[in-house]
Amino acid sequence: MKRLFLILAICLIIALSAIWGYLLFFGAPESTREFFANFNFGNTEETTPIPEPDNSLFEEGEGVSEPTELDALRQLTTKPVAGYAEVIDQASSSTFIYYIEVGTGHIFKLDAITGTEERLSNVTIPNAQLGYIHEDGSVAVVQSAAPGDGELTIVELTGALDTANSFPLIGAAHDFTLTEDREVLYTLKINTGLEGYSYNIETKVTDQIFTLPFREAVVSWGKSGDATHFAYPKADPRLEGYLYNVSNGVLTREPVSGFGLTAKGNNQMVLASKMEGDVYTSIIYIPEKNAVTESNYPIVPEKCLLSEAVTSAVCAVPVDPIPTNGITNWYKGITTGTDRLITISTTEGNDAFLLLIDLQQVSGRNIEAINISASPLQDKLYFQNNLDRTLWLYTI
């Protein structure tokens, strides 16, 4: 009896081995579709697949999100970014994103399509916090230490990592920017106010462009040193602010003022916000017509990108209403929120608003958009999430 069981077991093993051998060499399905279709469970009719939520966009970790055609909104970096620019490579006509890493000041070149990146500059700028990269990718200006009062360093990007060159520009700059004409515009505090300078990177010539009679100022820079700039005292809802324009060194008062005034503008249009009693209100000012109209939508001007050509802007506006001391608490980092991206266009005093995207609704997480910029073709918007300073892309 025992022997019989042994014989049966050996036969069973041989049979199973034969089946396994057949399946191994001859029975493999040609495609996964064929393999699963063979089960014939339930309805086998093909249906349109429902795309899975693309959670990879929002996962924490190294590397960038895997791009697909569905990714209108994409997180480009997981590292905090001090500044960035879209750069078109002249040789290949490919588009890259150059960005400055917070803390190190290292500059990276990111391919938004493939997600690959390479380091362009290994010049370390300790505690780099804010920077600008020229749109041709040839030079960057980086501020170390705290934004607003740190030293500026110019980094020349020659293409090869080991040839990146840097030199300190000045001492502690208060406000600065980098223009298309490769000028660094910056302000320095003096005892009686604030002085504005332009530094030409090509000629290495510094010119004083204006003097403000007060020290605690915010400057909304024009396109170049000799363009019109706007300035106002730093905001607090309990202090009155006034808007000035500075052109050819002359300070002119604009008809815009109010408690907690903040503004951003160019020759075409100025967006400003202030407190009217306990209500946060926004206005649109057209300098050419000297016309001030109240906006129907509360705007945080610092979170807007103004068009240079027409009276329109893209703004990140908070989903939640802005409370009385909302801006102050936002500056202090006490309150955080989430934004929508909208466009504003104004003609003859009528402003029109168009919702582009609700960032929270699409991404599933809180995003406060700051430092918005547009691609040259105006088909892409780049911005940083103020909550972690990561870089994002929204394809319109």
Binding site: A146, E216, L239, T328, G333
Partner: protein
């Protein structure tokens, strides 16, 4: 002694006149009262017939703006107008006609100007803070007055400053559009400035209420590589072995901030030694898990309102 007191009572108005010159703080001497006295460009203002004597009883009133009669305003004792553009003069004339007396004409002129008062309190805010500091009791406030709408250089204008109705720096000051004062006690400070020409013509005047606040404390995490995380901490989750926390006392007098008499860190009410920077502390994980409370206090020993204390729960 009685005679001396009587004499003192009669002489008191003379002393007060020296501080509050009538000529400095009253409007043009006519019977049309403008409110606000010196409107800015585009600002609404009212012109009221000042008839405290009742002399205009029963009179018809015709209003003329820059020589053109405004029929719609006829017989109004108070009219509201919008100020013209910067430095553009508007003449307002009211003609009073009564059956038994001759016509009387009252005239005033309005020249809109901007008089901006900018406060720069010398209290602490961190350099990443994009807003302006607010004053706290005892702190210095630098103040600048900017007059727009006159061709007279600042050096040739006379500025009279008052803080809480007290003339400061001794009286009218030529070319002094900047002053500094110490924030007095109270929630609000009234600051006024009047700008006149050397001949005494008042060009503009403004009164502004400046808030005075108590210092407030917020905590921020400092990352070795990335610097200060600009999000204020309401609670701290210690994930690694150590963390550096910075205490930021907003609106603390800068002098106290720079040289604090007391700056103390405590963990669960036990004093914790800080490093070189009195506002930063680096915490090391002592146990696998638990919770503690981090406390910080900064205080001046000479100005008791110049101080602030706060705490931060830590979970690890």
């Amino acid at each position: 002694m009685g005679r001396f007191l009587l004499l003192l009572i009669f002489l008191l108005p003379i002393f007060s006149h020296a501080q509050f010159s009538v000529g400095e703080f009253t409007g043009p001497q006519n019977s049309l009262v403008v409110q606000p006295s010196y409107p800015g460009p585009g600002q609404d203002y009212t012109v009221t017939l000042d008839d405290y004597s009742g002399g205009a009883y029963g009179a018809s009133i015709n209003w003329f703006i820059d020589g053109t009669e405004r029929v719609d305003l006829k017989n109004n004792r108070s009219i509201t107008l919008q100020a013209s553009e910067l430095n553009t003069e508007t003449t307002i004339r009211a003609v009073l006609t009564t059956p038994d007396t001759a016509n009387r004409t009252l005239t005033t002129t309005i020249t809109p100007r901007y008089l901006d008062i900018i406060f720069e309190p010398q209290t602490h805010v961190p350099s990443f803070y994009k807003g302006r500091a607010l004053p706290s009791q005892g702190s210095i406030v630098n103040t600048i007055a900017l007059l727009h709408g006159t061709n007279i250089p600042t050096a040739n204008l006379i500025y009279t400053w008052q803080v809480n109705n007290e003339v400061i720096n001794g009286g009218p000051l030529r070319g002094q559009n900047r002053i500094s004062f110490t924030t007095p006690l109270g929630d609000e400070v009234l600051v006024s400035v009047q700008v006149t020409t050397t001949s005494g013509e008042v060009l503009a005047r403004r009164v502004v209420a400046l808030p005075s606040v108590r210092p407030e404390l917020h905590f921020y995490e400092v990352n070795t590589l990335y610097g200060v995380n600009q999000k204020s901490l309401s609670t701290l989750l210690l994930l690694g072995n150590s963390v550096t926390v910075r205490a930021v006392p907003y609106y603390l007098d800068s002098r106290v901030f720079n040289q604090p008499d007391i700056a103390t860190w405590e963990i669960d009410r036990s004093v914790y030694d800080q490093g070189i920077n009195p506002y930063e502390v680096t915490l090391q994980r002592a146990q696998n898990n638990g919770s503690s409370r981090l406390n910080f206090q900064v205080q001046s020993t000479t100005a008791f309102l110049q101080g602030v204390e706060g705490s931060l729960p830590i979970n690890y």
